[in-house]
């Protein structure tokens, strides 16, 4: 019994740790906070019911992201495409949340992100924001590593185009961003 209990406990801990980034990913998929929260709930229930099949020590985060993503796309197939791309809602909702950053062009950035093709946005979010490797992202999306890389490249190109930046130089890391990143990371 002790084994089962400690498995459960560890499962819960890891699940809880992953929730904030799972939720952020859900927001990028659904485009709204409300739908994202519903989606996360469904994914959590599903993951919970399958916890026996999860092997501790393996990648909980990738496992949860895969469950959530599958849930999202199966709902989309059922309900049609209305779920995604409610134009503008993403950015509207996000802007309600004060981002304590003071970086003015964040809103433009979100609008541009929202204009990306779904598969490209998903790829760039998984790798550049959620911290997965190309291989993990490929597993989550059920595609080849090369596909992920090319989606990310296209996403980058499109974002640069939308934001009117030619290359990296205009938009390189700035000291205040680095400071903010350090700040948010240490919270």
């Amino acid at each position: 019994m002790a084994d089962t209990e400690s498995h459960q406990l560890q499962f819960k801990r890891e699940l809880l740790k992953t929730l904030p980034s799972l939720r952020a990913f859900a927001i990028s998929l659904t485009g709204t906070y409300d739908k994202a929260d519903d989606l996360v709930q469904e994914a959590v229930v599903r993951a919970w019911s399958r916890q026996d099949s999860f092997e501790l020590g393996t990648n909980m985060k990738a496992w949860l992201f895969t469950i959530l993503r599958n849930e999202f796309y199966s709902q989309m197939r059922k309900r049609g495409r209305e779920i995604s791309d409610a134009e503008g809602v993403y950015t509207e909702q996000m802007s309600v949340h004060p981002n304590q950053l003071g970086s003015i062009d964040m809103k433009d950035f979100m609008t541009a992100l929202n204009k990306l093709a779904e598969d490209q946005r998903e790829a760039i979010v998984l790798v550049c924001a959620s911290g997965f490797s190309y291989e993990e992202a490929a597993n989550i999306c059920g595609c080849a590593v090369g596909t992920i890389k090319s989606r990310i490249n296209r996403a980058r190109g499109r974002l640069q185009e939308l934001l009117g930046i030619d290359g990296e130089s205009d938009y390189g890391p700035e000291p205040h961003i680095a400071a903010v990143l350090r700040h948010t990371v240490s919270v």
Partner: protein, 70 residues
């Protein structure tokens, strides 16, 4: 002390982690990371925490006996 190449600082264990070492760290990647850090730092909504508690309770009730149901 762990000494992984991309774990220069213990602070980097944050949810979401940092992008893998082979990802180009340009302005786009940084902005994206910044945006997502913000969302992640909003915390977990109450309804989700409530759900977890309910699941937990249901599980306790179920495994209160001897063998957990599969």
């Amino acid at each position: 002390m762990m000494n992984k190449p991309n774990a220069e600082s213990p602070k980097k264990r944050l949810n979401g982690g940092l992008p893998p070492a082979d990802v180009v760290q340009d302005g786009i990647a940084l902005r994206l990371r910044e945006l997502y850090s913000n969302i992640e730092n909003e915390g977990i909504p109450d309804n989700l925490l409530n759900l977890l508690e309910k699941l937990d309770e249901a599980e306790r009730a179920q495994t209160g006996g001897q063998t957990p149901e599969v």
